[in-house]
Amino acid sequence: MSMKIRNITLIVLFQVFISGICNGQAIIKNSTGNNAGSGPYISGELITSSSFQPDIVTYFNREWLPGDIILTEGGILRNKMIRYNSLLDELFCLEPESGRIIKPDKEAIVKFHFYNYYGDTAVYFKKLRINEDVSTDSVDAFVQQLYDGKLSLYIRRSLYLDHKEVVRVNNNYYLKDIYKVEPVFYLKHPVKGIYAFKALSRKSILALLPEKDDQIRKYFREAPKYRIKSEDDLIKLMGILDSGN
């Protein structure tokens, strides 16, 4: 019996030894292929501890979530831990191994999306050139894609500092920034370009798409309960208008 145990122990030890050798060899042989320098690479700024860290409430997703980043050069950075800041309109990336936080260059990004945004798998952000104000130049901003078709609908969840509140924490008082969300919708028409609107009303939709007047009126007539109260209603309407093209 003891002989048998000794034999088995020897075999196991021998296996461990051989597997160790095989392991090392495989790394040597594979490494050229694995280390092939091809990109795409993330290019951005390293956020150090002393750098500016935005308030957690200003993030679209307060936790780091996995997602893809599609780059201007055509490459895709897959399965990155990302977080979008609505106030700064910047995307942040976490390197889980090193704990480093990187702010990728906005110019390098075309779009990004989260694999699973609290149960929603279709949260896509796209960089769009928009004109926020008549007095300012157009800027590139990340907007959330609500509907994508011949007609596309985007939303920008702009944050602005509403007021400051005095908050007491551990017997200390400090001023807390209170932000307010002011969503702006962007409707991209294949010919007419991009429209921006803030209010979700039948009137505003009709004003933006006068050529779809019949379809819009029919939609509200046939389904009066379909009032545009939420983003989902708007997405539903976009689907109907887009299919009627």
Binding site: A26, A36, L46
Partner: protein, 583 residues
């Protein structure tokens, strides 16, 4: 006995730890159909390449090279493969000396198994060479032997394309019409055919057929993961691969003195940087493995460009780039062209080429597809903090002055006998010994010492990025990009090991414009030896296709040679012989 079985079983189930699954790698084969097999130096060689491999994942690029009897490469091109085929032309320099040449065609993956590389022998004669010494004619051959040897007019048994000429004999300048159809129903539709109608040289054995290479069946030999791990040359499925090795010890690679160099030791790992001179700082990087090898999957932006490959670290080493035209199997001519009358034939070909020049007869190229490199630069940064134009300022004599006077935040100071640089705003956030990455004309240089002598007259613009930057796995304590007035990077001598290398770009898909009688003056002689070269014929639904071309004034036998493949990779081949007699 049981103990032995236990040991065997334990090996059988033992996982090979650390290996990554690449999936199965299929072997590839190529076949090259050329418009003919004898050329005069200065003429075009038209080709059509067929690739057989895994239908779902095949190489994107193939290489065609021509080498002489001394195994020196006389010309080479890269082909872009689309739907398993590629076609175009290659110019045979008019300085080539008469002799036997070998045409090789392969993908980078096939370089691992050189026996699979497609080879074909051609004869090239220089029209000023009257002796044609390399072409020896066997003594004592009679005309009867010559007739016996004329296998060129025989049909191959493997032919599965039926060619039916309207008639067998044509007068000069007649319209030649022939129909093409598959002999039996094919398993798939015809993907592409190439058609050549060219003069037959009596006595020369047949050129290879596509069926000889592809053998009627899909390649079943595949390489498993473990076999792939032994590959020296990586497949180019999506991007062009650039491989190389870092060798320790000072070696003059150009001089071929490899005696004192050796691959890097296991502990030495280097970062290899690749970039090209441009107005934007650009970079690809790779790491050497334990054998000192590195590999780049080249971004399309770098195709057809002069790139600089250097080590990030300073080391006593040299970089050797894998040469894709390097084939170890030597070319040993088979002397297949040593047939009676070959010299006479080649002299006649040379005279025809001379007449073509005299009458200014030129083949017009029809370009069907071009492959331009991508315009998107793999920038190392997109957002720069400041752009400085030195021409806006008074003249400053060196970079120490420039940094002090016109580059805010960028400091250059002298420590012992060398200059060091850094951004003052990030000096406490980054490694105190690390210096910012300095790019000159888009290429990373070793340090500020290489541009310290630059005056404002030498610099067009300076871009500063005064932040800790991340680029993939690399981190830089700031970036300074200098664009010189006179592309100074060309004259920079790197202290870290560096090589300059020109990458290949893909050849266009071209074909000669079909000859029409109207294109030739009626009083001029028509001495074409190739009556038709159609590299990409795609018949509709395997039906009968009618092809037309025109006879020239040269009497003799002409072979209609058709090669092709089906969508399933099945080889197609057919031939017929016609003759032209003078009116």
């Amino acid at each position: 006995m049981r103990f032995l079985i236990l040991i065997i079983l334990s090996f059988a189930v033992m996982p090979v730890a650390g290996q990554e699954n690449y999936g199965t790698l299929h072997a590839e084969r190529v076949f090259l159909h050329t418009d003919r097999n004898t050329y005069i130096a200065g003429e075009y060689l038209f080709y059509k390449m067929y690739l057989q491999g895994n239908p779902e994942k095949t190489s994107r690029y193939a290489y065609l090279l021509i080498r002489d009897q001394n195994n020196s490469v006389v010309t080479h091109i890269r082909m872009e493969i689309s739907n398993h085929v590629s076609f175009g032309h290659i110019l045979l320099s008019d300085t080539l000396s008469s002799g036997y040449y070998q045409v090789l065609c392969y993908t980078n993956l096939m370089r691992n198994y050189e026996e699979n590389i497609f080879t074909m022998e051609i004869a090239i004669a220089n029209r000023f060479d009257e002796n044609l010494i390399p072409f020896t004619e066997p003594a004592g051959k009679t005309d009867a032997d010559k007739t016996e040897q004329a296998s060129s007019v025989h049909k191959s048994e493997k032919e599965n394309i039926h060619i039916k000429p309207e008639r067998q004999v044509y007068n000069s300048r007649d319209k030649i019409v022939f129909s093409v159809e598959p002999d039996s129903p094919l398993s798939g539709t015809i993907e592409s055919l190439s058609v050549s109608v060219s003069e037959i040289i009596p006595g020369i054995p047949d050129d290879p057929f596509v069926s000889d290479y592809f053998d009627g069946e899909r390649l079943s030999s595949s390489k498993s993961d473990t076999e792939e791990n032994r590959l020296n040359h990586y497949p180019e499925y999506n991007r062009s691969v650039l491989q190389g090795k870092v060798m320790t010890g000072t070696t003059s690679v150009a001089a071929g003195k490899k005696g004192r160099s050796s691959p890097v030791k296991t502990s030495e790992k280097y970062t290899v940087l690749l970039s090209s001179a441009d107005s934007a700082a650009n970079l690809l990087y790779s790491f050497t493995d334990s054998l000192g090898s590195f590999c780049f999957n080249l971004d399309p932006y770098y195709e057809g460009k002069d790139v600089i490959i250097k080590l990030r670290e300073k080391a006593d080493a040299s970089i050797i780039i894998d040469n894709k035209t390097s084939i170890s199997r030597p070319f040993i001519p088979s002397l297949r062209f040593s047939v009676p009358g070959i010299k006479e034939y080649l002299i006649r070909c040379g005279q025809i080429a001379q007449v073509h020049r005299f009458y200014n007869y030129r083949i017009t190229m029809d370009t069907l597809n071009t492959f331009v490199s991508a315009k998107i630069i793999p920038r190392i940064y997109y957002k720069h903090y400041q752009t400085i134009l030195p021409s806006d300022f008074v003249e400053l004599n060196d970079f120490t002055e420039i940094s002090r006077e016109i580059v805010p935040g960028f400091k250059v100071r002298k420590t012992r006998d060398r200059f060091v640089s850094g951004y003052s705003n990030i000096q406490y956030k980054a490694d105190p010994d690390a210096e910012p990455a300095i790019f000159l004309d888009g290429v990373p240089i070793d340090d500020v010492n290489q541009i310290i002598h630059f005056s404002t007259m030498d610099i067009k613009s300076i871009e500063t990025v005064s932040a800790i930057r991340v680029y993939g796995e690399m981190t830089f304590p700031g970036i300074l990009s200098v664009i010189s007035s006179n592309k100074a990077v060309d004259n920079i001598e790197f202290t870290a090991p560096a090589v300059r290398f020109t990458t290949l770009s893909s050849q266009c898909f071209t074909r000669p414009e079909p000859f029409t009688p109207a294109s030739l003056n009626r009083n001029f002689p028509d001495l074409r030896q190739v009556l038709l070269w159609e590299p990409d014929l795609r018949p509709d639904n395997n039906t009968i296709t009618v092809i037309e071309c025109f006879a020239s004034d040269l009497r003799g036998l002409y072979r209609i040679d058709i090669q092709g493949i089906t969508t399933d990779g099945f080889p197609l081949h057919g031939s017929a012989v016609i003759s032209i007699r003078p009116e």
